[in-house]
């Protein structure tokens, strides 16, 4: 730290002498010989920064490549990425770990087409299923290679189930007795409505996808189908269609009609702005992204995984979140960057990563076996069954597929806040969103 302070003072002195060019912070990229440095940009959280531990071995086997890891917290991820590109310090390898998704990066022209460098690369060598590999292709060009694949799972608090004397929910997606209504019925039995936060407890927190994707579970599609084929620009928005309205009614009915889900007031009181109230131990069942599972060793209650119950949509019961690795357009060493990426998706490293990261689901299906075994107190077979069902009934997360997603998401969060608070009715708010979203998309997708 002293060094940094010294550098700061030095720079200030320099600047005061009007030599404000501050070249001091430019790193020396062109080292001696043919050694190149690949910058891997990631989120500053333990389940991402573990890659640092993989570097020594990689550098040993690839003596001409050095890997440097740069990081930023989730909230700052996108802005730092943009600023580094602007400053000419573009990282070489990263993923869409911030607010923006693949389509946003793609439409901004930030990504490099990897196809010319792929050569004899074949996804089957890395046990990556074809349909997963295809997510980040546009036309026949490959822009990303999958690294991790998260799904939506149901986590439940075994302690609360035991206390209520209820059987644990099943892990088999084909068990058709496990329905949405049954879940609500269970939830009712485990809800304790109390002003005292220390006593209050809720049956279910239904966090299926982002707010605009949630109706999909109930057979309502917010965006027209062409969105998935035309570069993430919906030609039509269906927020006023009866099936979508009904879907939202069902979703928010959990809070206000059935009263089995936590209010935003409760969630934010207990877990802050962006936290997950399930972790507080006051939620019996939580439908959530499987990344929450990675923290399971820290839970101070017994946790189980189950299938997302059967809803009105026969085909979609889970949201898939496949995180790819991209090579950025300004990368000077795409070939070497690709070497690094290939290294990260190899079976051995993917297996190693599971442990180091605390439980990131590998995209490499051979390594997946190991993943299922990673969670203490949860039967590996159950996890495997849940994941397989989720893949089968999965749909890729909207935020990866839709252009300008952060703005769209912001709109949904804000407009639906009054519904979530119980101040307004779904049918009054949806037409407003419909209008504003149409306007917004007209503006940004011109």
């Amino acid at each position: 730290m002293n060094k940094k302070y010294g550098r700061l003072l030095l720079s200030v002195t320099l600047a005061f002498g009007l030599v404000a060019t501050a070249c001091s912070s430019k790193d020396s990229k062109n080292g001696a010989g043919e050694t190149v440095t690949i910058t891997h940009y990631t989120i500053d959280s333990p389940d991402r920064t573990f890659v640092e531990k993989l570097i020594p071995d990689f550098e040993k086997s690839h003596p001409n490549i050095k890997i440097k890891v740069t990081k930023a917290p989730y909230e700052q991820f996108d802005s730092k990425l943009q600023s580094s590109i602007a400053a000419g310090n573009s990282p070489d390898v990263t993923s869409h770990w911030g607010y923006g998704g693949f389509m946003e990066y793609y439409n901004k022209g930030m990504l490099m087409d990897m196809t010319p460098y792929l050569g004899d690369f074949s996804n089957s060598d890395y046990n990556i299923p074809d349909d997963v590999m295809n997510i980040y292709k546009v036309g026949d060009k490959t822009y990303g290679i999958p690294l991790n694949s998260y799904v939506t799972v149901m986590l439940y608090n075994k302690d609360l189930f035991d206390k209520a004397g209820l059987p644990y929910p099943p892990t088999d997606y084909e068990d058709k007795s496990w329905t949405f209504d049954k879940m609500v019925e269970y939830a009712k039995k485990m809800t304790v409505d109390s002003k005292n936060l220390a006593e209050a407890q809720y049956g279910v927190d239904f966090g299926f996808g982002e707010r605009d994707q949630r109706p999909q579970y109930f057979n309502g599609n917010v965006y027209s189908d062409d969105t998935w084929t035309n570069g993430g620009k919906p030609s039509e928005i269906n927020l006023t269609k009866p099936e979508v309205v009904d879907a939202y009614k069902k979703i928010y009915g959990l809070i206000w009609d059935q009263k089995v889900s936590p209010t935003p007031a409760f969630s934010k009181s207990v877990s802050g702005q962006f936290g997950d109230p399930f972790l507080s131990g006051k939620i019996a069942m939580s439908v959530v992204g499987s990344w929450s599972l990675a923290a399971s060793s820290e839970f101070n209650f017994k946790v189980g995984v189950a299938a997302v119950p059967q809803g009105p949509n026969e085909k979609v019961r889970s949201v898939l979140y496949v995180d790819p690795l991209f090579i950025l357009k300004d990368s000077k060493h795409p070939k070497e960057a690709l070497e690094w990426i290939k290294y990260l998706i190899g079976t051995e490293i993917q297996e190693k990563s599971i442990e180091l990261s605390g439980g990131n689901p590998p995209v490499n299906q051979k390594a997946a076996e190991k993943y299922y075994n990673n969670f203490e107190g949860i039967d590996p077979q159950q996890i495997e069954q849940v994941f397989e069902g989720a893949y089968k009934y999965g749909f890729e997360s909207y935020n990866h597929l839709i252009s300008n997603y952060s703005q769209i998401n912001e709109l949904f969060i804000n407009e639906l806040a009054s519904v979530e608070n119980g101040d307004k009715k779904v049918e009054d708010v949806l037409p407003v969103i419909q209008e504003k979203l149409t306007k917004l998309l007209g503006r940004v997708n011109k």
Partner: protein, 308 residues
């Protein structure tokens, strides 16, 4: 300036003043450079960017009045103005009046005066994020102090920052908490009012209110004006509360102007669009200051133009 130069010839005094001029520029050079680098160029650059579409990665693309035109049709932009003005027009005058009121109360011969003054001022030292976090917690619907206090009067849980009807009011209530600074300024102003004038008014039979209205208020009106301008300019730039507590929500009810600039520039990466908003802010601040200054010529009393 120096007596020596007075008797000298014109030629020499020119040289003298040239010499003085050189020193003048030498000494003010840090500011001059800073002004050019950190104010003038940015203001002009921002004007230029406001006519472009710019995402920092690609080169700026000139689009004429495109951004301004788009702003005109952007609901969020108008909403941010509405939000900011609502906050400004409620919070600034009320805070001013409250701080004046308490300055008057404290300016009397009362017990514990020093303590009360410090106690009233103390909260304004907790500003910025610390204050935002504290009030976020005080207004916590379930475990917070404020709702508990209201429950004594039988008022049911209010969701404050989570409810679009109340979020703004919560911020306004929060702003009263920082009135201590304004109170101190008024207190200094009140203490500058000559005792003789007050006594003269008394002798003329003026009551307390009359004395205040006719003697005290005119005398402290420059202080009032000063605080008004600073208060307005500050409240046009509210950011911390929106960033820390509400993220502009719920339902955009606290989507302040500067927060909108921030989101557009640094989250949506539309630097040109955000620059257009910056320029509108700049013009608004200039206009407001100008109008107040003009108006003040009529209403504000300057004691013989004396400077402090």
């Amino acid at each position: 300036m120096s007596r020596l130069s007075k008797g000298d010839s014109g030629l020499k005094s020119t040289r003298e003043s040239r010499r003085e001029g050189r020193w003048f520029y030498f000494f003010i050079s840090p500011w001059l450079i800073g002004f050019i680098a950190f104010a003038l160029i940015p203001v002009l650059a921002s004007l230029y960017y406001s006519f472009t579409e710019y995402d920092i990665i690609h080169t700026p693309e000139f689009i004429g009045f495109g951004n301004y035109n788009e702003l005109f049709h952007d609901d969020l932009f108008w909403n941010s103005i509405k939000v900011t003005l609502k906050y400004t027009f409620i919070s600034v005058p009320l805070t001013l009046i409250l701080s004046l009121f308490f300055a008057i109360l404290i300016n009397q011969k009362i017990p514990f005066r020093g303590f009360l003054r410090t106690a009233m001022y103390f909260p304004s030292m907790i500003s910025g994020v610390a204050m935002a976090l504290l009030w976020f917690w005080v207004f916590n619907p379930q475990a917070g102090l404020f709702n508990y206090f209201l429950s004594w009067f039988g008022i049911d849980t209010i969701n404050w920052f989570l409810d679009e009807k109340y979020a703004m009011w919560a911020l306004i209530i929060m702003s009263f908490w920082g009135m201590g600074g304004g109170m101190l300024i008024f207190l200094a102003g009140l203490q500058g009012v000559p005792q003789s004038l007050l006594e003269a008014a008394k002798l003329d039979g003026a009551g307390r209110l009359r004395t205040f209205w006719n003697v005290t208020l005119p005398l402290i009106s420059p202080v009032f004006l000063f605080q008004l301008i600073i208060g307005l300019i500050d409240s046009f730039q509210v950011f911390t509360q929106a960033y820390t507590i509400t993220q502009g929500g719920p339902n955009y009810s606290t989507w302040f102007y500067v927060f909108n600039i921030y989101i557009n520039a640094f989250k949506n990466f539309r630097y040109g669009y955000a620059s257009a908003m910056s320029w509108i802010l700049l013009l608004a601040v200039m206009a407001i200051t100008f109008v107040i200054m003009k108006m003040s010529n009529r209403y504000v009393y300057y004691e013989g133009g004396r400077e402090r």
